[in-house]
């Protein structure tokens, strides 16, 4: 069967499945709409959380980043999983015990202040909306590459699908579609990885294959990969660093804290029945996430290896031959997958030395011996540019796998982007309808009225997300880092102190959130421009790029969190301690006994 037809069939079947679930799981009450009635099994919730969490960035981009960052890419692997340990033992069980619909509601009630809850709503909206832009652009790219429709049409189809189950089903519809989407995306990720691991090492388990001997060289795959890429002037795979060790440390910490503080992840734990379930559900989430995250390093290293052996077929058996006249392939004999990806512009070849062959190497190498060899071979610069997002999407094509595997990867990429978009929409619409409309503007709204408001807010959020996907602001690429920075520097510390410090008062928490946010934005804007407007950066003011101990703006969330904690405790010391009933409430949140169904009632 034609590749295109196969893709239509596989993607069409998955979409039919999602819509079928949407019809079955309509929400009839606010409890079903906001928290799926709080009756979700912890294992099922773990699966839904995994799909919610693993976005287009995890599915499409992460392995590509690791393929080029090598060891340095570990910061994503550890950062995006280690946060679940924090979530499981610092936040999720206590927030479930607290038993309310949204994160801002916890902050508003715990700090007995509508202002605190409104600051939390603003932080939540900024973090979630910036995050969703990346998802919608991911949907557009996946559709346009695989379904042969334009980017815009792709986004319209994506909006229609999400609309059908998010608006009518709320959290209930989203939860059960996410379970289906998890199954699609994990199969799409693991099946090609198994094939590739088998062909390179003879070991079907990618996690073990990465440590196995490579069939062709008889040496461990990682050792061979180190040799291959160093032969081409790149840094050693297993040790290369993103900046400094300190930056890697702080970056990892920022991602962990940010993960634990992202509202669309936290609210998933309001859907389980008990506090004990919230604890185990966090563990199950990580099991399902780890299936992909422990496969990603193998996908990364093996795709990198396959790419180099495609361009330089003899690099493993006779490394030195790379520098001879026929060491790299002729462009006219390049494989079909390269031609297909050239159309998208994500792969480009430019014959700099006019020999008709593809030279793919590190032309910015600092190794003098290598530079001399390259010069003697008549190379005039790297000729192939490979967008990192190709690594996962083109992986099955590079490894020459059957068409149905390629179709499955297309469906998986779409599932990853759609499931995360739906989770973010849920966080946005519940904050608007519950924390703004009900809490601030119209406290006497009826349950039916609130459910309708929730659905309208959801519909409006879908339209807004689609609009931002169609007209992505120029800063789209930097925004996911910002979402983590904001979650880490505002929401995480505020929630944690709310549980672990009985005496933390409203003035302290608000001062902490505002200063954490201000410091983080100040540092990010210095690098990327004020509100990401080009040319408004002010690096000279802070003494040059990464001037704070060499820490990059993406890694700054942990510093913002530190500032938040320090300011909060300082202000707390000099202001009045919280009323006795709040301290009693904290005492109450700390123990599981007396946990009830999640509700939307406000204390005041």
């Amino acid at each position: 069967m034609e590749l295109q037809t196969t893709i239509y069939i596989v993607v069409g079947l998955t979409f039919a499945l999602y819509i079928g679930i949407a019809i079955w799981a309509r929400a009839g009450s606010t409890s079903e709409f906001y928290v799926a009635g709080s009756g979700v099994n912890p294992v099922v919730n773990g699966m839904a959380t995994a799909a919610d969490w693993m976005s287009a960035a995890s599915f499409i981009s992460m392995a590509g980043l690791i393929a080029y960052m090598g060891y340095g890419g570990s910061l994503f692997l550890m950062g995006w999983t280690g946060g679940y340990v924090l979530l499981a033992c610092l936040l999720a069980p206590y927030l479930r015990k607290f038993g309310k619909f949204t994160v801002p509601q916890f902050i508003g009630d715990r700090y007995y202040s509508k202002a605190a809850s409104t600051i939390a709503v603003v932080c939540l909206l900024v973090a979630s909306i910036t995050y969703i832009i990346g998802q919608m652009t991911g949907v557009g790219i996946a559709f346009s590459r695989f379904l042969g429709v334009t980017n815009d049409t792709g986004i319209y189809i994506g909006m229609a699908i999400v609309f059908s189950y998010a608006v009518f089903g709320g959290m209930k519809g989203i939860t059960y579609t996410q379970v289906a989407q998890y199954i699609v995306l994990i199969m799409a990720y693991i099946i090609p990885a198994i094939f590739i691991s088998l062909s390179l090492t003879g070991n079907p388990l990618p996690q073990l294959g990465l440590g196995s001997n490579m069939t062709e060289s008889g040496k461990p795959l990682l050792v061979t990969l180190n040799e291959v890429i160093q032969e081409l002037g790149f840094n050693e795979y297993t040790t290369q660093l993103p900046g400094s060790k300190l930056n890697m440390f702080v970056y990892t910490l920022s991602l962990m804290i940010g993960t634990a503080g992202l509202p669309h992840v936290i609210i998933r734990f309001f859907t389980v029945k008990t506090v004990a379930d919230a604890r185990s559900s966090a563990g199950w989430s990580l099991v399902f996430i780890a299936l992909l995250y422990t496969t990603a390093p193998a996908v990364a290293a093996m795709a990198r290896m396959n790419l180099h052996t495609t361009i330089n077929p003899t690099i493993v058996s006779e490394p030195a031959k790379v520098f001879t006249a026929d060491g790299s392939i002729l462009n006219s004999e390049r494989p079909d997958w390269m031609k297909r990806w050239e159309v998208t512009g994500l792969l480009k070849w430019q014959d700099k030395n006019g020999d008709g062959r593809i030279q793919y190497y590190n032309d910015a190498s600092k190794n003098e011996a290598f530079n001399k060899k390259a010069k003697d071979a008549g190379w005039k610069g790297n000729e192939l540019s490979v967008n990192r997002d190709i690594i996962v999407m083109a992986n099955p094509e590079i490894a020459m796998l059957p068409n149905w595997v390629i179709a499955l990867v297309a469906a998986g990429g779409l599932a990853a982007a759609l499931s995360t978009a739906a989770g973010l929409l849920m966080a946005i619409s519940s904050a608007v309808s519950h924390d703004l409309v009900k809490n601030v503007f119209k406290p006497d709204i009826s349950e039916k009225g609130e459910l309708m408001t929730g659905k309208i807010a959801m519909g409006a959020s879908v339209v807004l997300a689609g609009y931002l996907g169609l007209n992505p602001p120029g800063f789209a690429a930097g925004t996911v880092a910002l979402a983590f920075g904001i979650a880490a520097s505002t929401l995480f510390p505020a929630i944690m102190m709310g549980i672990f410090s009985k005496k933390m008062n409203s003035a302290g928490a608000m001062a902490g959130m505002v200063s954490g946010l201000a410091v983080t934005l100040f540092y990010v804007f210095a690098h990327k421009g004020i509100f990401f407007i080009k040319g408004t950066g002010y690096l000279e003011l802070i003494g040059g790029a990464n001037s704070f101990f060499g820490i990059t703006p993406e890694a700054f969330g942990a510093i913002g969190a530190g500032v938040n904690f320090i300011v909060a405790f300082a202000v707390d010391k000099v202001t009045k301690e919280p009323p006795a009933y709040i301290q009693q409430m904290v005492e109450n949140v700390r123990i599981p006994r007396g946990s009830k169904a999640v509700t939307g009632d406000h204390y005041h």
């Binding site: 690791i66 060891y71 890419g73 570990s74 692997l77 550890m78 999983t81 280690g82 679940y84 340990v85 499981a88 033992c89 610092l90 069980p93 996690q207 073990l208 990465l210 440590g211 196995s212 001997n213 461990p220 795959l221 990682l222 050792v223 297993t238 040790t239 060790k245 890697m248 440390f249 990892t252 910490l253 008990t274 506090v275 004990a276 604890r279 185990s280 966090a282 563990g283 990580l286 099991v287 780890a290 995250y293 422990t294 390093p297 005492e587 109450n588 700390r590 123990i591 599981p592 006994r593 007396g594 946990s595």
Partner: protein, 86 residues
Amino acid sequence: MSENYDSQAYWRATLSLLTKVLIIWALVSYGAGILFADSLNGIMLAGYPLGFWFAQNGAIYVFIILIFWYGKKMNEIDRKFGVEEE
């Protein structure tokens, strides 16, 4: 809610468990995966340099075990102080 449990002792037990969890959490990721990765890389584990393995696979496995162990221990603490869910 019932007031007949020792809330201070309960919270001490919780925090002590939490401290253990977070120490292991930091040791496998920031310790083995980052700070000591270079020296651990001298050791090969099933074809992996050990520091690299911790950073790309090992830490994640330990995180999973940690969460389930924490959940089990917390349930025991809850029962011991009589504050588990009915």
